[in-house]
């Protein structure tokens, strides 16, 4: 048992989630691989989206996986960093847009 909550080796065992619920796990992995196939968006574009989302949801497994995936696809460092900034901008924007709620409430409660 690892001393930390996250163990890099766990990523290799991801497929084992099907052991406890085969139909749901199998359907998830089928869906997952279908999502990342070439479609209206290229697999390369989807890899960059996945990298950005990995940072936003702060998933260390996903960050490892999609950094490696990006390297294998020849995605440049600049492209990877811009994708992370796009995710970070949305995340910080999502925080800041709540400031309008704060301002509205402030106005309502104060003279």
């Amino acid at each position: 048992m690892s001393d930390t909550y996250y163990d890099p080796k766990d990523l290799k065992n991801f497929k084992k989630i099907t052991d406890w619920s085969e139909p749901l796990g199998t359907r998830f992995f089928e869906y997952y691989s279908k999502v990342f196939e070439e479609g209206a968006l290229s697999a390369r574009e989807k890899s960059l989206i996945a990298l950005a989302v990995s940072h936003v949801v702060k998933c260390p497994y996903c960050i490892d996986a999609y950094t490696k995936d990006g390297l294998q696809r020849g995605i440049t460092e600049e492209e990877m960093m811009e994708a992370v900034h796009a995710g970070a901008a949305i995340e910080s924007g999502a925080t800041l847009v709540h400031a309008v709620q704060m301002m509205n409430k402030h106005k309502k409660l104060s003279h």
Partner: protein, 349 residues
């Protein structure tokens, strides 16, 4: 870029025996991962040579670059070079074996003073495909080598050039500062001569990953390279060959120093694809060392794993002794059998 060769820095891994020791121990001796030979046994498979198609000749380990990943441990400090006498034996072997392809590699093969003589002999012997594996920067290094692209064209040589990425940062990190710019200049000159544009003048590029990961889809990477090199520099080329880095020599040193060795070997073993076995390059290639010694491939050459049997030199091997010979393997062979497979002509799937 590496500062000097492993040999020059008296690194332990300069000795092929030490490399084989690393590849035999740890994960493989503990049984955590199967050896390549055990993997073949599990499939009841044995690798044997078919018909000789490619005579791959290493003209020497001397090179004007010292790339981080180099499996040859080549560099300006390496003095091993094929002699005129051995070149004669190569020419004799072309007459005897009649290979479809003569694949000239190094080091920088152009740095062998007998390079042009060998090429002219191969042309006169009507070898169908004469490949020079050029690092490109040698063609920009001085006035002598600046004349080589024209020599390539006059002799209809097929140019296969290393370019690990279309970005300067990635290429220079692997191959040395300034390599990308010089490579672009050389590619533009090759294009101006018709290479990559005229159907008789083939210009292929070689991509290998700049680190501890496998190459992605050759088709997708080729499309990206074509799009970017055309848009940024108006460069054309024919095919992109994706080659997996094998865990030997300087790349093995890098894997160990960066603590990526175990994960990389696990990745290679997990990606083992039995369907690649029938098309591995060692089945139709004869690799010749600078001293005329014989190997199943350039990687076995660097690990000093000779061909099976008692004929170890080019002038000893008879034409009827190539086929149906057992191919000696070791753990580095996982690199050629991983995923879509890898060869000096790129992906094999």
């Amino acid at each position: 870029m590496a500062k000097s060769s492993l040999q020059r820095s008296k690194h332990l891994l300069a000795d092929p025996k030490q490399q084989l020791q690393v590849l035999s121990s740890g994960l493989f001796s503990s049984g955590a991962l199967p050896t390549f030979s055990d993997r073949l046994k599990g499939l009841n498979a044995e690798l044997k040579t078919d018909r000789l198609e490619i005579l791959q000749v290493n003209l020497g380990y001397m090179c004007n670059q010292t790339c981080v990943h180099c499996h040859v441990d080549a560099g300006p400090d390496r003095k091993e070079i094929m002699s005129s006498e051995t070149i004669d034996k190569v020419i004799d072997a072309i007459i005897r074996f009649r290979p479809n392809t003569l694949d000239l590699t190094g080091g920088a093969p152009e740095m062998n003073p007998e390079f042009q003589r060998l090429v002219r002999a191969a042309v006169s012997l009507s070898v169908k495909d004469i490949i020079v594996r050029s690092n490109l920067t040698i063609l920009e290094s001085n006035n002598h080598y600046k004349g080589y692209p024209r020599f390539f064209k006059e002799n209809g040589i097929h140019v296969v050039s290393s370019l690990p990425h279309y970005s300067m940062r990635t290429t220079d990190r692997q191959r040395g500062e300034g390599v990308f710019s010089k490579s672009i200049t050389a590619l533009k000159r090759l294009n101006e001569l018709g290479y990559g544009r005229d159907k008789h003048l083939k210009l292929d590029l070689v991509y290998n990953p700049s680190g501890a990961f496998l190459p992605g889809s050759e088709k997708e990477l080729e499309a990206d390279f074509k799009r970017k090199l055309k848009a940024d520099f108006d460069i054309d080329f024919n095919q992109l060959f994706c080659i997996t880095n094998l865990p030997i020599s300087r790349f093995l040193d890098y894997l160990l120093a960066s603590e990526n060795y175990e994960e990389y070997m696990e990745t290679l073993v997990e990606a083992f694809n039995p369907s690649t076995l029938s098309r591995l390059m060692c089945r139709n290639t004869l690799s010749v060392g600078y001293d005329g010694s014989l190997y199943a491939c350039d990687f076995n050459q660097m690990l000093q794993i000779p061909i099976s049997g008692d004929k170890r030199y080019l002038d000893d091997l008879d034409t009827n002794e190539y086929s149906n010979r057992k191919i000696n393997v070791h753990q580095h062979c996982y690199g050629c059998a991983a995923g879509s497979g890898s060869s000096c002509q790129g992906s094999i799937s």
